[in-house]
Amino acid sequence: MNLATLEPGQPLFNLKMVVTADKVRAYLVAVEDDDQIYGEEKLAPPMAVVALVMGMAIRAVNLPAGAVHTGQELEFVAPVRLGSELECGATVSHNSVRGGTRFLVLQITGAIDNQPAMLGRVSIAITGEKEK
């Protein structure tokens, strides 16, 4: 995907993904979080849900190597139970180049049965970009 062509309001993807126990387990191992609450409540950590949606967004945009997150806003609206089918989406919120760095802001969402479970806004900086 050519980052220069991304326009605010442009949807990047809408995909469904099952939040499996295996995915959540792999996430918890990676972040070294052994809190028992996730197993007891059969809930996915909200940051695992964000990470999975962000992974989709990164692949959809095909971010260049070296892109870095500069900020993140997140709101967890509803619990995500293990085995839930998550409706994942991302939309371009902002895209500009200043001083050779592209500033890209994406709105990300995760919903279950058309009800929002997670809302987010991620800011990304990509160096080595040319201004128009």
Partner: protein, 131 residues
């Protein structure tokens, strides 16, 4: 659910390259900046750096320990990445109560490395209940 504590229990993590590989596999974020020493050496960082989202997991971990299910279901976070974290670093996440309303507690969270550098700052909000 307890009332909002003034201070959150610190969460401490030692960052390793193996952990970054595990996080990349689990999240799908396989940016070579986090994984490829050779590539990372060509960037301004000079070496691989931790995923920002990994650091936010530590923020969420601290909030989960204090608020449990209410954080998982209704938490809010606004975070800023201040400095890179490298394999070999040890980061400590702390939180201080900023204010409360009748139903919400607001915290200032800091993730700090072993040199005392703030690598992430975040404002978080969690629901509280009065009994």
């Amino acid at each position: 659910m307890p009332n909002a504590p003034e201070i959150l229990n610190p969460v401490i993590h030692h960052i390793s390259q193996a952990q970054l590989a595990k996080y990349a596999d689990a999240s799908g974020d396989d940016n070579p900046l986090h994984l490829d020493e050779e590539f990372a050496a060509t960037t301004p960082y000079g070496r691989t750096i931790a995923h920002g989202m990994l650091l936010l997991a530590f923020v969420s971990e601290a909030m989960t320990k204090a608020f449990g299910r209410t954080w998982l279901c209704e938490g809010k976070m606004k975070a800023r990445f201040r400095a890179p974290v490298f394999p070999g670093d040890t980061v400590t996440t702390t939180g201080t109560l900023k204010s409360t309303t009748g139903t919400m507690a607001m915290y200032q969270i800091v993730v700090r490395n072993q040199d005392g550098v703030d690598v992430v700052t975040a404002d978080t909000t969690a629901p509280i209940f009065s009994f």
